[in-house]
Symmetry: C2
Subunit: 307 residues, 2 copies
């Protein structure tokens, strides 16, 4: 199994290392961290049973065009933010038999790729993980690690199942999902309130948000469920309650959007919120709380000089 | 006409000076600025035709109990924020014939005072003004100045009309309002979106907010109109459009809540938003956008260490 990981950030480095440990030939296309990763590989420190280990990619390139062969799978592990030229990054990596694997947050993030590569299999994936790039070639895996993978727009190909199996063998949970779009909505139920509220509150933890504004959080979650249902992906009736209960049980947690905000990086506002709001508008579902949070995030971005 | 102004901030100093210029005997109860105002009075620099002038109060005290006589009018010119002990401040100022005049932003700010002083006339007032205390005893009047005054809960007494007349003679517009509660809702239509959105966006001007999120602003304004109507104070049908048009015509403007936020001072979140939201809940009116903005302001306050 030949794999190319695009993106030498925390997600790509971590999941690439798991495939390599199972015998896959994992190469990596890195931009800002190319020099370090090419020379030294990646050091991963995991708080899980994986412990501390080193990952040396088979080949490290700046651009996928430099690879001698097209891979069986290309894992695109980058955030979906403005100026992320995902099609451009994939263009030189994809051959006739290459499956494209997107591991990213958000709603409706597949369509652009599906249209640009209509003849390639598209596998859409979600990572439930706390993992951080602490320096070039240094990754800190704090907690969790579960993946959900499935073909876009639906179904499970043999190649998707095969990839899941390799991930499972590596010791993480990899859920093979027949309806990955529903899984995205499921994740959005949590992301849509907690990511923006952590930013708009200027740094509150999930626990502080939930313990003071539970009914507001619930209202946002309910609206996400309404959109999921209206777009053909109904979520279980206990989805909101389970998300609330699980969040109370989690340790206080800084969301990925808050980490991006604090570091001055672009945020996944459009992928997580904007696309959800537009799906709601298209479906004619009333989503006033979600709309409000989206509008305020756009104002907050403008207030810090984005766009 | 004997007047006591409680609060030596910008609003009290400015309106007190206008009454004094018309021959009223205006005393002042000042706390933090007592030393300066007692020794030097107040210097006012106005960008209007009033120009620069000096206001020397008849008597300056730390506490109203020090005054030899009870005034005809006591003007309470302080922000309605947590820890503002308005009843305590008024207690020593109010005699049997004293009319209490509240000049403050917000919704439902009168009831506490009406209950504490059931035998005194209560005049409720709104100031439409840009005025800033730049240092102890220094006030900068940037623009506007209109007042609206009326008895709470409704009507216009002779003393209220008399006060209006004196303000009018001083050169500002003072609207005598038979339904001052409706006037509060009218002002809330503007305050409810622009004050919190300027804070939550971390400093955008009214113009930047409106030009990028007009439909969100309108949604909040419409909800305020719904509450006003449901509580017996219907506003004119063109209220939202007029507020939008006027704001586009205003120069870019920093809201009072943003100024308080940037200075680390308590904000009028409860007076402006919380009380409006509770009125909406009591009336059974759907106000999801307003609720969202209120919840986010509470989170933002918590995020900066309030409460």
């Amino acid at each position: 199994m030949k794999v190319l990981v695009i993106g030498s950030g925390a997600v790509g480095g971590f999941y690439g290392s798991l495939l390599a440990a199972q015998g896959a030939e994992v190469s990596m296309a890195a931009r800002s961290d190319y020099m370090h990763v090419h020379a030294h590989g990646i050091d991963i420190t995991s708080e899980s049973k994986l412990g501390a280990y080193h990952f040396r990619p088979h080949t490290v390139v700046r651009n996928a065009a430099e690879l001698p062969e097209k891979p069986d799978y290309v894992l695109l592990c980058i955030k979906v933010v403005e100026n992320a030229d995902r099609v451009g990054l994939l263009k030189d990596a994809v051959g006739p038999g290459t499956s494209i694997v997107l591991i990213s947050n958000g709603i409706d993030i597949e369509d652009e790729i599906a249209k640009a590569f209509p003849d390639n299999e598209l596998i859409s994936g979600l990572a439930f993980i706390c993992v951080t790039r602490t320096a070039p070639g240094k990754i800190w895996h704090q907690a969790y690690g579960r993946l959900a993978l499935g073909n876009y727009p639906q179904g499970l190909s043999e190649k998707a199942l095969e990839l899941c199996k390799v991930f499972e063998r590596s010791g993480i949970t990899c859920v093979a999902s027949e309806d990955i779009v529903a899984a995205r909505w499921q994740k959005c139920v949590w992301n849509a309130p907690f990511n923006p509220l952590s930013v708009l509150s200027a740094g509150l933890s999930t626990n502080e948000i939930l313990s003071t504004q539970e009914s507001f959080v619930r209202a946002i979650m309910e609206e996400v469920c309404l959109i999921a249902e209206a777009t053909g992906h109904p979520l279980p009736a206990d989805t909101v309650n389970k998300n609330i209960e699980n969040t109370y049980r989690m340790p206080p947690y800084k969301t990925s959007m808050l980490l991006d905000f604090e570091a001055g990086r672009p945020m996944e506002t459009e992928a997580i919120l904007g696309n959800a709001v537009r799906a709601g508008w298209n479906a004619g579902v009333p989503i006033p709380h979600l709309e409000s949070v989206y509008a305020l995030m756009k104002l907050r971005e403008l207030g810090r000089g984005d766009g």
